[in-house]
């Protein structure tokens, strides 16, 4: 039984807006097991980035952001930590890489500076030693000629190279957990696969657990062990890759699967979409969050939030009617 490195319990993240406090993440719970890759998938605005940044407590906590629930790591609740203690964890125990590598790197400092400052923030080493480690980690991420690379500025690198640097910075202090927030969305398709593979390899070699956030089903299928599907701030389904792709239970998941294009075989049907759009987070309905776009909504859906049903050991779903859905939904291949 692999142990859990991270346990997120009923996490809610509240933002203060003109319309009052809004929960962008609404009572989300999941665990992250050691060495596994957990993907979080969903449309824009479903709260996956917010979840990631909440774990790292990256938001400016000056009154308009509030958290509920708990995030357990290493025997303690991250939400209880002092800012100083959180800073020690960031980059060292839990690291994060972001979507756009160009804006993730400070344009006025060299790659070398940005790498070594991370290393020296967490390890008591000399400048020379930090430099050595920087070169080492650049090698690990496949950056050619790291010696010269240290002196380069971000604007002198290509997108793929920058992302490698960003990953290097993230793993330089050998964190236990890496959160990758849409790391390939801003990259060329050809580079995407490389980066994803790099992440997977690094995770395996270093025993790192990865939270992989994406909206690209095909991509995350390659590397994930488990997948969580989020909609409007809630996890609506969670399971292994196999389970989710072969037996999706939630209407939303099934809609997602159906709308993904497959490259094998001829195109047998028209592109499928899920009717409607994600409502604004301020318009979260009472009852099931998916009710307005679901073709199978019942009265219960509109009044009661679905409870979590365990289908198998790892597979969970939140839907009142998951076992009453037709075998083939509209748009699904027969």
């Amino acid at each position: 039984m692999t142990r859990n490195v991270l346990e997120v319990k009923e996490l809610s993240t509240w933002f203060g807006t003109e319309d009052g406090q809004i929960a962008a993440v609404d009572r989300v719970s999941f665990v992250l097991k050691q060495g596994e890759v957990l993907s979080i998938v969903g449309e824009s605005g479903c709260g996956k980035s917010v979840t990631a940044q909440s774990i790292m407590r990256l938001y400016e906590e000056n009154g308009s952001v509030a958290y509920d629930g708990s995030i357990l790591y290493d025997g303690a609740d991250l939400l209880d930590h002092s800012p100083a203690r959180m800073a020690k964890l960031r980059g060292n125990d839990i690291s994060m890489i972001f979507q756009d590598p160009m804006s993730a790197l400070n344009p006025v400092f060299t790659i070398g500076t940005q790498l070594t400052e991370t290393i020296r923030a967490h390890r008591n080493v000399s400048r020379g030693e930090a430099r050595r480690r920087a070169i080492e980690v650049l090698n690990a991420v496949g950056y050619p000629d790291p010696e010269t690379g240290l002196r380069r500025y971000p604007h002198e690198l290509s997108g793929g190279m920058r992302q490698r640097v960003v990953i290097a910075i993230a793993i330089a202090c050998e964190p236990k957990i890496l959160i990758a927030d849409e790391p390939t969305t801003a990259l060329d398709v050809t580079i995407q696969a490389q980066i994803v593979e790099l992440i997977a390899t690094l995770a395996k070699d270093r025993g790192m657990a990865v939270v992989f956030i994406s909206h690209d089903l095909g991509l995350l299928a390659e590397v994930s062990h488990r997948v969580a599907v989020m909609y409007l701030g809630q996890i609506v389904e969670l399971g292994t890759v196999a389970e989710l792709f072969s037996q999706p239970a939630h209407p939303y998941t099934r809609g997602l699967m159906a709308s993904a294009l497959t490259l094998t075989g001829p195109l047998t049907h028209r592109l499928t979409t899920i009717a409607g759009t994600v409502p604004a987070i301020t318009d979260r309905p009472t009852g099931c969050v998916f009710q307005d776009r679901c073709a199978y909504t019942t009265t219960q859906c509109r009044s009661q939030e679905p409870s979590t049903t365990e289908l198998t050991g790892d597979h969970q779903v939140r839907c009142w009617n998951h076992d009453q859905l037709p075998a083939v939904l509209e748009g699904e291949p027969a």
């Binding site: 990256l58 960031r90 006025v108 400092f109």
Partner: protein, 317 residues
């Protein structure tokens, strides 16, 4: 890089010539001559004409122009009609007070304004932020002479803690020199500081919203490091522009402050020499201040290259 600098200096010449010619024409064509100012209101027209002639002012304008330029390129800026001294040494004598004043004003501007701007940005929306914002608005709106008189009254007359105007050179002792410059420095630098505060605040705010700041935090860097190292370095660039412009105008235009605090600087020299129609001094000072302006601009441009690696200065590999 040296080639680039040389080219910038070469570009100085047409600028100098244009500015100088414009000023020369304006000053010479305006009514009034130095003779009448020297001799006083009750001099006869004959006396005035005679003295103007002795000063060489009855020559045709183009001739006076050519003569002056001819001397200027050899470094001879002529003799002041009033101050009984060569123009060059007169200017050089008047430079230290203005330079000192501009320096103090700029330091006050930077030393006070940038931290205030950073504080306001990092505590955005708080009471402190609003105080700083409103305070800087007042600083921009208050005319500098009003501020000068007010400072003079409060600190010079009522509290008697600082001298009421005047100037002592650095050779009289560092603190003495400083004590004469604090009040005028604040008066002069006040508006600059207010502008810099607002600029710094908005610049820092903009930078703080950048992704790399979030990344810096995600790396586990402490807030102080994030702000002072990562944010400031980027936020500083727009502020640098304002600093450069400000320094130029501080050096050339501190007239009101100099008058109220009786500092014998370039500003006073320029105004007095214009009022007196002391043509050689006016011309010499214009030349001098133009060079200063261009020099300051050049330095700012070079500094940009230093602070922002994305700026590619020509001939830099």
């Amino acid at each position: 890089m040296p080639a680039y600098i040389l080219r910038r200096f070469a570009a100085l010449i047409p600028v100098l010539l244009t500015v100088f010619t414009a000023v020369f024409l304006v000053v010479h064509l305006a009514p009034g001559s130095p003779a009448s100012v020297i001799l006083g209101q009750e001099a006869t027209p004959q006396q005035i004409t005679q003295l103007n002639s002795d000063l060489g002012l009855d020559q045709p304008l183009w001739q006076q122009y050519a003569t002056w330029i001819g001397h200027a390129v050899t470094g001879d800026l002529g003799q002041s009609y009033f101050l009984d001294a060569p123009v060059l040494s007169t200017i050089v004598d008047h430079v230290p007070p203005t330079l000192s004043l501009a320096l103090i004003a700029e330091i006050i501007g930077i030393g006070v304004a940038i931290p205030l701007g950073i504080i306001a940005a990092t505590r955005r929306g708080s009471l402190l932020d609003r105080v700083i914002l409103n305070g800087s608005l007042v600083g921009i709106s208050v005319p500098s002479f009003l501020l000068a008189l007010f400072l003079l009254l409060v600190f010079g007359v009522w509290l008697r803690v600082l001298p009421v105007g005047g100037y002592e050179p650095l050779s009289s002792g560092f603190f003495t020199w400083l004590s004469y410059l604090i009040l005028p420095g604040i008066a002069l630098g006040g508006m600059q500081a207010a502008l810099i505060t607002r600029m710094a605040r908005s610049s820092v705010l903009e930078v703080l919203g950048q992704e790399y700041i979030k990344v810096a935090k995600a790396k586990g860097l402490r807030t102080r490091v994030v702000v002072l190292k990562h944010a400031l370095r980027n936020a500083f660039l727009p502020v640098l522009t304002i600093l450069g412009q400000g320094l130029g105008s501080l050096i050339t235009g501190a007239v009101v402050t100099e008058t109220i605090f009786t500092i014998p600087g370039i500003g006073t020299l320029v105004v007095n020499s214009v009022l007196h129609r002391d043509f050689p001094v006016v011309q010499g000072t214009v030349l001098f201040t133009t060079v200063i302006f261009v020099l300051v601009n050049l330095i700012v441009d070079l500094l940009y290259g230093v602070f922002d690696p994305r700026v590619k200065l020509p001939s830099k590999r």
